[in-house]
């Protein structure tokens, strides 16, 4: 179990996309998520939900405000600092799994450790442990194309967990799955949260998914409308 406290904190975040007509997508967004929380961020398309996800995932920068993740101020980072923070602090779970098609399940899971410079033998061993936890040990040497949707998402979750991140950031994790598999994946995420205290943020527009989290944050027109 992790210590209680604040895992991530947004303070008056603003983000405008410059263009012919500047688009102010996030307006003074403030948000706090405690360690061990299971939160969903919900909003319609165009609500600023994706931009918020990009900022939380250190995939994109913001114009003003402050973002602290696990005690680190995430602001004005170089590309390398951002890459290292993403690698160590955040485990991504994507809607379309985003596994690399020509790498087998084991190699996909081990990839984040490759970017930490962990030797091949050790990273394959750790990846195998994660796959075992997901019940996919027998699929370790299958390519993503040879796995079912649910299996692919479990491989992706194993990849997200392998660096022991502070935060799991899931973007529509069930968007590409049928209802039965969706349920399995959601159960897995819930179990990781309850049993291992993994702080989890799920971005979704699906009320069914939102209902399975402990807190729903709604966003509309770039504002947080309810926490």
């Amino acid at each position: 179990m992790r210590l209680k406290g604040i895992m991530l904190e947004l303070k008056d975040i603003n983000k405008t996309y410059q263009g012919a007509v500047p688009l102010h997508v996030l307006r003074d967004v403030s948000l706090t998520i405690e360690r061990g929380e299971l939160v969903s961020i919900m909003g319609a398309s165009g609500s600023g939900k994706s931009t918020l996800l990009n900022i939380l995932g250190i995939l994109d920068s913001y114009d003003s405000g402050e973002y602290r993740l696990d005690g680190t101020l995430v602001k004005n980072l170089t590309e390398n600092e951002a890459a290292d923070l993403r690698n160590r602090k955040i485990g991504f779970v994507f809607q379309s799994f985003n596994l690399i098609s020509y790498k087998d399940a084991l190699e996909n899971v081990a990839l984040p450790l490759f970017y930490q410079g962990v030797p091949r033998k050790r990273r394959n061993m750790l990846a195998m442990e994660q796959l075992e936890k997901m019940g996919l040990a027998d699929r370790a040497h299958h390519l993503p194309g040879e796995l079912s949707g649910g299996q692919k998402q479990r491989v992706a979750i194993a990849r997200a967990l392998i660096t022991r991140p502070a935060l799991i950031l899931a973007d529509e994790p069930t968007g590409a799955l049928d209802s039965r598999t969706s349920k399995e994946v959601m159960e897995l995420l819930r179990r990781l949260n309850s049993e291992e205290g993994m702080t989890t943020v799920i971005v979704t527009h699906d009320p069914g998914v939102g209902a399975q989290t402990n807190r729903i944050i709604r966003i509309a027109d770039g504002h947080i409308v309810s926490k």
């Binding site: 951002a82 890459a83 993403r86 991504f92 985003n98 690399i100 020509y102 790498k103 490759f114 970017y115």
Partner: protein, 406 residues
């Protein structure tokens, strides 16, 4: 490493025709480079074999005819070299001479034995001639000091002649041949790629010469010279010594003939270097079109893998690791197809080598190990340059691409 190979095979496999065409251009460029360098090497080998012996520090001087008036003396005088000149050249401090020797030849004498003849005369040699002329004995011995002291009528003949007249090299040794109405003993047989001179002791040749003081030519072995300027200065110093001895204008190029092998060789080596350099330039320019192709294909590959690069960036790849990955892929593709070109080029060089065997234009064309290494360095550099711009483009892919659905 395994990851790299896997990823390259993926890149190669994604569009086989496109990759084959690009690969062909690279292989063709390298093939041309190897064949051209192979031919150049063949020419260099032939030159080195024929020209660059131990005698490449030798100045050989013959008497000529003056064509300039000098101190009241008319033009058209015949200059004949004499024994005295040897000592004067040797004593002249401005001639960097290591050794000075003279030779007396006679090109009308015919030697015969077993009703067969050797035409072409003889050459009066010292024991050192064996070294200057780069001769290897196949039977018997070369002229020695006792031959010189006793003015023996000893002759040394070439292997092909020995076989023709006596049956074999060893059978010739000790046999008697007649020439100038005198009996000569064959003391040795030598093998050389192109020489067929008959050698007799210098002292014997001098004794047989009409005027004992006259020498046909003088050999000056230069020492401690390395540049063309030094070579030219040495020649000029020799000309001045002889001009004084024989009263002619030192600038009169016809009064004496000088074969400056040292200078000739330096000039020839320069020409060969230009030849090799030209081959490199032509080869590399041919390779260039292949390299442009590789660069192009890497651009396409980066564009196709934008999503994948985004995923890698999202899960923590630094821009630099994306850069090196693309560059290494490019290098690997270039080397892979480059080596196909090297192999094909080496095979063709082998064919050229067989076809030109025995011809005087080239010898053993082909690339040496150092050339192969140089070509490899060129390939690595070319692949890296080809991959660099696509790789820089790849680093510009933003991690947000990972969230975009394909």
């Amino acid at each position: 490493m395994t990851d790299l190979i896997r990823e390259i095979s993926q890149t190669v496999g994604r569009n086989k025709l496109r990759m084959a065409l690009t690969g062909f251009a690279v292989a063709w460029g390298v093939f041309m480079l190897i064949v051209l360098l192979g031919i150049a090497q063949g020419v260099v080998n032939e030159f080195e074999d024929k020209m660059l012996g131990r005698d490449n520090y030798l100045l050989t001087i013959w008497g000529g005819q003056t064509e300039k008036v000098w101190k009241g003396l008319k033009e058209g005088r015949t200059i004949t070299l004499e024994e005295k000149d040897l000592g004067d050249i040797g004593r002249n401090g401005s001639v960097p001479a290591r050794a000075v020797s003279a030779s007396i030849g006679n090109d009308t004498v015919v030697f015969s034995a077993n009703n067969m003849t050797l035409t072409g005369g003889y050459y009066g040699a010292s024991p050192e001639s064996m070294y200057y002329d780069d001769i290897n004995m196949s039977a018997g011995r070369f002229i020695n000091n006792r031959d010189m002291q006793q003015r023996r009528r000893a002759i040394v003949i070439e292997s092909d002649d020995a076989r023709r007249i006596f049956g074999s090299d060893s059978a010739a040794v000790g046999k008697i041949m007649t020439g100038m109405g005198l009996a000569w003993t064959v003391t040795g047989v030598y093998a050389h790629r192109w020489r067929s001179t008959v050698y007799v002791p210098y002292s014997t040749a001098a004794a047989l010469a009409a005027n004992a003081d006259e020498v046909e030519s003088i050999d000056v072995e230069l020492g401690g010279v390395s540049t063309k300027v030094e070579g030219r200065e040495a020649e000029q110093a020799v000309r001045e010594t002889l001009a004084q001895n024989h009263s002619f204008d030192p600038e009169d190029k016809n009064a004496i003939w000088v074969w400056n092998r040292f200078l000739n060789n330096l000039e020839a080596v320069e020409v060969l270097n230009i030849l090799v350099m030209t081959m490199w330039i032509i080869g590399i320019l041919t390779l260039l079109s292949g390299i442009v192709g590789v660069s192009n294909i890497m651009f396409v590959s980066v564009r196709e893998r934008k999503h994948e690069i985004g995923i890698r960036r999202a899960i923590g790849a630094r821009p630099r690791s994306i850069l090196t990955q693309v560059v290494w892929e490019s290098v690997a593709i270039t080397i892979l197809f480059g080596y196909i070109g090297i192999v094909a080029g080496t095979i063709v060089n082998g064919i050229i080598s067989t076809m030109t065997k025995g011809m005087d234009i080239m010898r053993d064309p082909g690339v040496t190990l150092s050339t192969a290494l140089q070509v490899t360095v060129v390939l690595v550099a070319a692949g890296a340059i080809a991959g660099l711009f696509p790789a820089i483009k790849a680093t510009k892919v933003r991690p947000v691409e990972a969230l975009r659905d394909e």
